[in-house]
């Protein structure tokens, strides 16, 4: 837009159709600015924040195609094209990171997402209001506990001499398992603890969607002799479908960034085999080893896939139903 205005200023010759349009546009801009001065003043800190802290890093992504060194700065560092990407694709870790990222996301989608829906369905069938309310308050609680504490509890309970092993030894007389040090346990623990922490919270939105379903639908179903199960499957579930689809799209958009902070807290070198994901690798390469350009390239790769997935998911949702994000 700025360029456009500059162009208009540069040439002050009379009137083609296009020039008149530009002139009108300019008038509109001035008028709009005069009328909404205060509005623009109000939104300016937000815009400034987004330019600096959101679009600034996007501008900084150019280092993925450069050999960045802090001494030379963003613009001074030499271009290297796709070298860092090729290095990453050829590295020993590439497939492991990709598989781990996809599997952890996939399992979360497969187990944690339906868990919220199921809990909402069950809560929706409860008649006692106080009971329902109590269960809700209790199951929301872990959502507000910090990840540090959640993972701390995992370490404590799953230690060789922790509560879980005590119970397993008592019940089955088996050898204690060092859960947090076993790579094959990582995915189960990651997804399981995620469900434990967030199932209540994720049920909220479905419950809200259920309360918006037209009660006359249920009345009509009762008239036709439909029992509660029939009502659940033919009215409640279809009624929350739009919400389910939108949340699913959003989740797919986050597919590549599943719980990195939690993994950083949970994993250790003995579990890297199943726990190390693209996001945690970026952290180790970039922040710990100061390998900025390479890790920025890996991060960009992740962001591109995430974006593509989101566009695809939205396209599919648009095709199969009326629900879409945009």
């Amino acid at each position: 837009m700025e360029n456009l205005e500059k162009d208009v200023k540069l040439q002050d010759k009379p009137k083609s159709n296009f020039r008149r349009k530009v002139g009108n546009f300019r008038k509109d801009v001035v008028k709009d600015f005069k009328r909404n001065k205060i509005i623009y003043l109000m939104v300016s800190p937000v815009v400034l924040y987004y330019i600096i802290f959101q679009y600034g890093p996007m501008y900084g992504l150019q280092i993925a195609f450069k050999d960045y060194s802090p001494a030379l700065g963003f613009s001074g560092s030499p271009w290297v094209g796709f070298d860092h990407f090729i290095e990453f694709f050829n590295s020993f870790f590439f497939w492991r990171l990709l598989v781990n990222t996809i599997l952890l996301s996939f399992y979360t989608l497969l187990f944690a997402f339906p868990a919220g829906i199921i809990l909402a369905l069950l809560l929706n069938e409860v008649r006692g209001r106080i009971f329902k309310r109590t269960v809700q308050t209790i199951t929301y609680m872990p959502h507000f506990v910090s990840l540090v504490v959640i993972v701390g509890i995992l370490f404590d309970f799953l230690a060789r001499d922790g509560v879980v092993n005590d119970i397993l030894v008592f019940l089955f007389g088996m050898e204690p398992i060092a859960f947090m040090r076993e790579a094959e346990w990582f995915r189960t623990l990651f997804v399981g603890s995620d469900i434990w922490q967030n199932v209540g919270w994720s049920s909220i939105i479905f419950l809200a969607a259920m309360s918006n379903i037209d009660p006359s639908l249920y009345e009509a179903a009762k008239m036709d002799g439909a029992g509660r199960f029939k009502q659940m499957f033919h009215i409640t579930l279809p009624g929350i479908m739009p919400t389910v689809v939108i949340l699913l799209i959003l989740l797919i958009g986050k597919f590549m960034t599943v719980g990195e902070e939690k993994i950083l807290l949970m994993y250790n070198p003995t579990t890297y085999e199943t726990a190390d994901v693209i996001g945690t690798y970026v952290y180790r390469k970039g922040i710990l080893e100061s390998n900025f350009s390479f890790s920025a390239a890996v991060g960009l790769f992740k962001a591109m896939i995430a974006f593509t997935l989101l566009v695809i998911a939205n396209g599919i949702a648009r095709k199969v139903s009326d629900t879409k994000l945009w």
């Binding site: 909404n36 205060i38 509005i39 109000m42 939104v43 937000v46 924040y49 987004y50 802290f53 679009y55 600034g56 890093p57 996007m58 501008y59 900084g60 280092i63 960045y68 809990l119 069950l122 809560l123 069938e125 409860v126 109590t134 269960v135 308050t137 209790i138 199951t139 609680m141 507000f144 506990v145 910090s146 990840l147 540090v148 504490v149 701390g152 309970f157 509560v163 005590d166 008592f170 909220i204 939105i205 809200a208 969607a209 029992g227 509660r228 199960f229 919400t243 949340l247 958009g253 902070e261 996001g279 970026v282 970039g286 922040i287 900025f292 890790s295 920025a296 962001a303 995430a306 989101l310």
Partner: protein, 292 residues
């Protein structure tokens, strides 16, 4: 009318039993921490399996926590980050949400697009880290406040709530000569207190629980928030700093209960807050999830 078939009755009872079990499983780890923190350290160390009650009540662990300068400092830091961070969050978010909820603003849609786009594509960790270093914010309290000054998700929730307020209120205020700032602070915000409460909860909990930015942006221990100290204690399992002044024989088990006491101190304030806001955040989540 409400005659239930046998199948339905079985379902109802199973459902209730299941929900009770779920509640117990959810509560137990948290109760365990509370019980362990107020029990005798030796008892906690010797307990095998489920601990169902606290025993030999003592507040010794809490005394240790509140005597520990590192925990006190980090706790104060967290309070600062929560207070300043949340204030800035709320201020910017409500200003932005108000401006972007107005209809006849030429660039409004473009700005909105610019904001929403960042929800789907972002520069990522490394460029952000380099930016923060370029801005000389490493080892500064601002590093925990500025990079997260606005959340697009929360801004959308608030904007949607503002859009739901009838225009007539605003128009009559304008006739009385009120300008935008007055309309926002005198009319819109007071009418949106539930949403504001939810925003305070969301932003506040975010600052209270956040540790990752502190880990990468701060080296100075004097600036650490409590979650980062907790991480050292819980994950790196380092209680050596916690029990200074205790003879080495007692140090081990006391270290354990101090650990639990620290968790309680760092978690309880939030857990006391959210039940009061429960009825509001249901609405908030709904708006954000659907319109987002």
């Amino acid at each position: 009318m409400m005659r239930r078939s046998i199948g339905e009755r079985i379902f109802d009872y199973t459902n209730i039993i299941f929900l009770v079990l779920l509640s117990l499983v959810t509560l137990y780890p948290l109760l365990y921490i509370l019980f362990a923190s107020i029990s005798d350290p030796t008892y906690v160390a010797q307990t095998r399996g489920l601990m169902l009650f606290p025993k030999d009540l003592t507040l010794e662990a809490y005394r240790m926590v509140f005597k520990n300068p590192m925990i006190i400092t980090s706790y104060i830091n967290t309070l600062i980050y929560v207070a300043v961070g949340t204030t800035i969050n709320i201020l910017l978010t409500s200003l932005g949400a108000y401006a972007l909820s107005r209809k006849k603003v030429m660039w409004g849609n473009l700005i909105m697009f610019m904001i929403v786009f960042t929800m789907f594509f972002e520069g990522g960790l490394i460029p952000l880290y380099l930016l923060v270093s370029e801005l000389n914010l490493i080892d500064s309290r601002w590093a925990l406040i500025l990079p997260t000054a606005v959340s697009a998700f929360n801004l959308i929730i608030m904007r949607t709530a503002f859009q739901g307020i009838p225009d007539s209120l605003e128009e009559s205020a304008r006739i009385d000569g009120a300008k935008d700032f007055t309309i926002l602070f005198r009319i819109i915000l007071p009418l949106s207190l539930p949403v504001v409460a939810v925003m305070i909860l969301f932003y506040g909990v975010f600052h209270w629980n956040s540790w990752f930015h502190a880990m990468i942006f701060l080296q100075d221990r004097e600036l650490f928030p409590v979650q980062l100290i907790l991480r050292e204690i819980l994950i790196a399992n380092d209680t050596s700093n916690m029990t200074t002044g205790v003879s080495s024989v007692d140090a081990m088990p006391i270290g354990e209960t101090v650990k639990y006491a620290t968790i309680v101190v760092a978690t309880v304030p939030i857990l006391c807050l959210y039940p009061f806001l429960q009825k509001y955040f249901v609405k908030g989540v709904m708006i954000g999830g659907i319109k987002g």
